[in-house]
């Protein structure tokens, strides 16, 4: 989840999010270098006492400041296209989970083997126990096994919602009448928080998403327990 005064992304929990982090570092470094150079030029222009009233044009510098930005843009575009296509790849998922958005909660359906369906409501602030996160905790978490490609089919039952978990590098709009597909591989065990990312009414800010990644044995124990309860 996010930390107070956080400046960057949340820690990555999937290989795709790691790639996004690295690309962001690359692009941001280029942006820092260009901004520093521009700021230096501005300061130099403003503080100089030299003048030249007779310069009309210069072909060499024009070539430079056409070619160099174009090359820089290509250097940004190549990793960007790579990450973009990487995000679209869905390699043989082990598990398919349906995440359905409602006003104002999510429901998860694990229907590959048994018919496991449950709703996930936000824990109200007055019901939080010490150590829990306000406006982020839910009564039921979406539990997934680690190191397994998971396909998430996202849709909505009433209005637009969006299923987003920043640590997993995943955001997919939930459109009523439409099935959207996204996938991730949780590389490490942990609890990852996200929030509904498409305005959906009064409690849009109060329908969070909690994904808990556990080793496969624990996932199987959890599904057995949920089947008994539900």
């Amino acid at each position: 989840m996010a930390h107070p005064a956080q400046m960057g992304f949340q820690d990555a929990a999937t290989p795709v999010m790691e790639e996004l982090l690295h690309f962001h570092d690359h692009a941001l470094m280029i942006v820092y270098l260009i901004s520093t150079m521009v700021f230096y030029i501005i300061v130099a222009m403003v503080t100089t006492e030299l003048t030249n009233k007779y310069i009309l044009d210069s072909q060499e510098i024009e070539i430079m400041w056409t070619a160099l930005p174009a090359i820089i843009l290509v250097l940004i575009a190549m990793p960007s296209i790579r990450v973009l296509y990487l995000m679209d790849e869905i390699n043989d998922p082990h598990l398919t989970i349906k995440a359905m958005g409602h006003q104002w909660y999510w429901s998860y359906e694990y229907t590959d083997y048994e018919n496991l369906t449950f709703d996930s409501y936000m824990t109200p602030t007055q019901d939080l126990t010490p150590g829990q996160f306000r406006l982020l905790e839910t009564d039921h978490r979406m539990v997934v096994p680690t190191d397994a490609p998971i396909r998430v089919l996202v849709s909505a039952e009433d209005v637009l919602h969006s299923w987003a978990v920043p640590s997993l590098g995943v955001k997919m709009d939930a459109v009523p009448g439409r099935l959207n597909q996204t996938a991730f591989i949780a590389s490490r065990a942990g609890v990852f928080y996200g929030q509904c990312s498409e305005i959906c009414g009064a409690n849009h800010s109060f329908m969070p998403i909690v994904v808990e990644a556990v080793p496969l044995e624990h996932f199987e124990i959890w599904t057995a327990m949920m089947m008994e309860d539900v």
Binding site: E62, R82, L86, E89
Partner: protein, 82 residues
């Protein structure tokens, strides 16, 4: 038109990289659009003979422009024919 441009280019050679990059960018965009129009299975050109090409997708075909990790030739076809 071309003679005017080449005359101006000779006196302002800084325009040459501009032509190269803008021309290259336009070429790349238009070829990608053409690839999408002709190769994308979501596009239907011939309503009589090939009305729904998206129903004829094989699992081993690569429809995307670039693959990072996936090897489409290794995928098996485990679904029935439509």
């Amino acid at each position: 038109m071309l003679s005017t441009v080449s005359r101006q280019l000779r006196s302002h050679p800084a325009l040459i990289p501009l032509f190269i990059f803008i021309g290259g960018g336009c070429t790349m965009s238009l070829s990608y659009l053409a690839r999408l129009a002709l190769r994308n299975p979501d596009v239907c050109w011939d309503r009589k003979n090939n009305p729904e090409p998206w129903n004829k997708m094989a699992p081993t075909d690569q429809y995307k422009f670039y693959t990072v990790n996936m090897d489409y030739s290794k995928l098996k076809k485990d679904r029935p024919d439509f």
